[in-house]
């Protein structure tokens, strides 16, 4: 949650996340760069510049693959949600690794001629009309450009400035970027490989990303279908006896939006399921210190008004709701973000007395 913008709002979990991430990346590079050459039986070694470029390129691909697996894993199993928490640091680190790869390539393959190396990158191979020998470098250029844009706009300031929907759409570019990386590798180094270990790891990584996203999409679709089956004018949520204090039920509304209905100290309130920060699923969070807490980054909201506690300024829409007997029902028309809605008391449910 934010009041003023600082580069990084550090906490212990972010420190641990970054240390583990850096340890993994450093080990990958160390082993590739310094341990692996001793195990190769080449008469003469691969040029250090090419070896370095391969190490950083392979590392960037592995990092990007892991990053893209985190999202669907967290949708399929909530125990993976902590990996999502600081993923943007992982992304920014990936950009630096990818830039290092590009620098080695640029300063080796495209250097030593009378032409500018950046110009040479664009004109040296123009065989765009053929698959074999296609200038695969353009896919790398596209992917790197996207990664730099995403890293540069990863801070919450940019989300506020661009608005969350625009920011989110820009950051969906990660998928074309990943496809572009796959094309970059497939039409490049993969064409030359005699040892197929790399091929197997590369295809395995790319397939894992695809399959996990497909599984997560099917998972969401099944959940949405179950929710849609229960939709009506006043949308029936559940029997009040099914609700647990401090937790929510999520339902899909006819508009396509999702509502999170919370039972809070014997009263019912409904807010949008989408967190104002990064559209995190508020209904998958819980009430901590009387505030709905997002499971992604811990943004908090008053469940009766959809407002973050002062001095924070985030707001989400609220919904009117009623009790029809023991059935909890929601009016599908959302109130403007931050609108207070009187909570509906649940008869027979003990509420805490305010201290005198």
């Amino acid at each position: 949650m934010s009041v003023k913008y600082i580069p990084v709002q550090w906490n212990n979990n972010k420190y641990i996340y970054d240390v583990v991430m850096l340890a993994g990346v450093a080990l990958f590079l160390y082993v590739f760069l310094y341990a692996a050459p001793g195990l190769l039986s080449h008469e003469r070694p691969v040029n250090p510049q090419v070896h370095n470029a391969r190490a950083f390129g392979a590392c960037a691909f592995v990092m990007l693959t892991v990053i893209l697996c985190i999202g669907p894993l967290a949708r399929l199993d909530q125990r993976f949600l902590p990996l999502l928490y600081n993923r943007r640091h992982f992304g920014v680190m990936t950009v630096f690794v990818a830039i290092t790869h590009a620098s080695y390539i640029l300063n080796w393959y495209f250097a030593f001629s009378s032409s500018d190396k950046f110009e040479a990158l664009l004109f040296a191979n123009t065989s765009y009309a053929q698959l074999g020998g296609f200038p695969f470098e353009v896919f790398g250029i596209f992917a790197l450009t996207v990664l730099v844009i995403l890293a540069a706009t990863s801070h919450d300031f940019w989300m506020k400035f661009l608005t969350p929907p625009v920011w989110k759409r820009i950051h969906y570019l990660i998928y074309p970027a990943y496809l572009s990386v796959v094309a970059h590798v497939s039409l490049g180094i993969l064409q030359d490989q005699q040892n197929h270990v790399f091929t197997v790891i590369f295809i395995g990584g790319a397939v894992a990303v695809g399959v996990l996203h497909l599984m997560a999409a099917l998972h969401e679709r099944r959940a949405d279908a179950a929710i849609a089956a229960r939709a009506a004018a006043w949308v029936d949520i559940c029997d009040v006896s099914e609700m647990s204090d401090g937790f929510a039920k999520i339902r899909l509304l006819p508009s396509g939006e999702r509502v999170a209905v919370y039972l809070n100290d014997g009263t019912l309130s409904a807010i949008s399921n989408a967190c104002a920060h990064q559209n995190g699923p508020l209904g998958e969070g819980r009430i901590i210190d009387c505030l709905v807490t997002c499971p992604w980054h811990g943004f908090q909201y008053d469940v009766t008004s959809g407002r973050s506690p002062a001095p924070f300024t985030e707001k989400v829409p609220t919904y009117n709701l009623r009790l029809d007997g023991t059935r909890v029902q929601v009016d599908p028309a959302a109130n403007p973000p931050g609108t207070y809605v009187e909570p509906v008391a649940v008869p027979g449910h003990a509420q805490q007395e305010a201290p005198a």
Binding site: N13, A36, G133
Partner: protein, 253 residues
């Protein structure tokens, strides 16, 4: 939807006790997994071949007749302990630069060349020093050099730039290296055809366009591809020269 029984992680609070073991396992798997992948990918690199700059030989200086194929070669008439008389060396400048402008006025003349050898099997190239230190005319009449016509051949293989292939880069061939090879060829570095089947005992042939012209622009699209083509082969000393017929190029794979 969360429930009472599942642990709930909030980034700025301590991780729930019930999640800690799981997260610890994830950390160990992540770090060791990346180390394992680094090793697996690092040792999966193919052998780049034995080509190399032979700085260990020291600077080589020999005398011979300069010929333009149109790419410059020197037919050695007065060699040294490493470069024998009768040998033919392809010539290049520093980096991806040719010596065309220096060499053209000296075509057919007796010259002294000096530089460092690049060596890969029966493929040898001399990277010349700058200016007259690398290439200069010498006194004397150039002897008549013989060129033997070996007829028309159909060959399968790959067009490469002769310098990277000879050892300026390891690896110096293949699709991943195509743009670099093109850049060398645009700089008039002598191109080389690597055959799958040796021709008269040679695996590498200097390749030119038809009738001794420069490599045609259409050939650049086939650099680093596995192709077959036809052309006239001639022998100049210990170097074979393939004059390709662009109309006969076929992509094999």
């Amino acid at each position: 939807m969360s429930d009472k029984n599942s642990p709930f992680f909030v980034g700025y609070l301590s991780a729930p006790q019930a999640l800690r073991t799981f997260l610890m396992v994830i950390c160990v798997v992540f770090v060791s997994g990346l180390a394992g992948l680094g090793l697996a990918l690092g040792v999966a690199q193919d052998d780049p071949g034995d080509g190399a700059f032979r700085f260990d030989y020291g600077r080589q200086t020999v005398t011979g007749v300069l010929e333009m194929t149109p790419y410059p070669v020197v037919r050695v008439t007065e060699g040294n302990e490493r470069i024998a008389d009768g040998q033919t060396l392809m010539l290049s400048g520093q980096g991806k630069n040719s010596i065309m402008t220096r060499a053209s006025p000296l075509e057919g003349q007796l010259v002294k060349v000096s530089g460092v050898i690049l060596d890969r099997g029966d493929l040898e190239m001399l990277q010349l020093r700058g200016g007259r230190n690398g290439l200069s005319a010498v006194e004397g009449t150039a002897p008549q050099m013989q060129t033997e016509q070996l007829g028309r051949w159909r060959l399968a293989g790959e067009i490469c730039d002769g310098k990277c292939l000879a050892g300026a880069m390891r690896p110096g061939r293949g699709i991943a290296h195509k743009a670099c090879a093109n850049l060398c060829l645009l700089g008039d570095i002598p191109p080389v055809f690597v055959t799958t089947q040796p021709v008269e005992g040679h695996e590498f042939l200097l390749i030119t366009g038809p009738e001794g012209t420069a490599l045609p622009p259409s050939a650049y699209h086939h650099v680093a591809q596995f192709i077959s083509l036809e052309g006239d082969v001639e022998r100049r000393g210990d170097l074979l020269v393939l004059k390709m017929d662009p109309a006969t190029v076929e992509v094999v794979r």
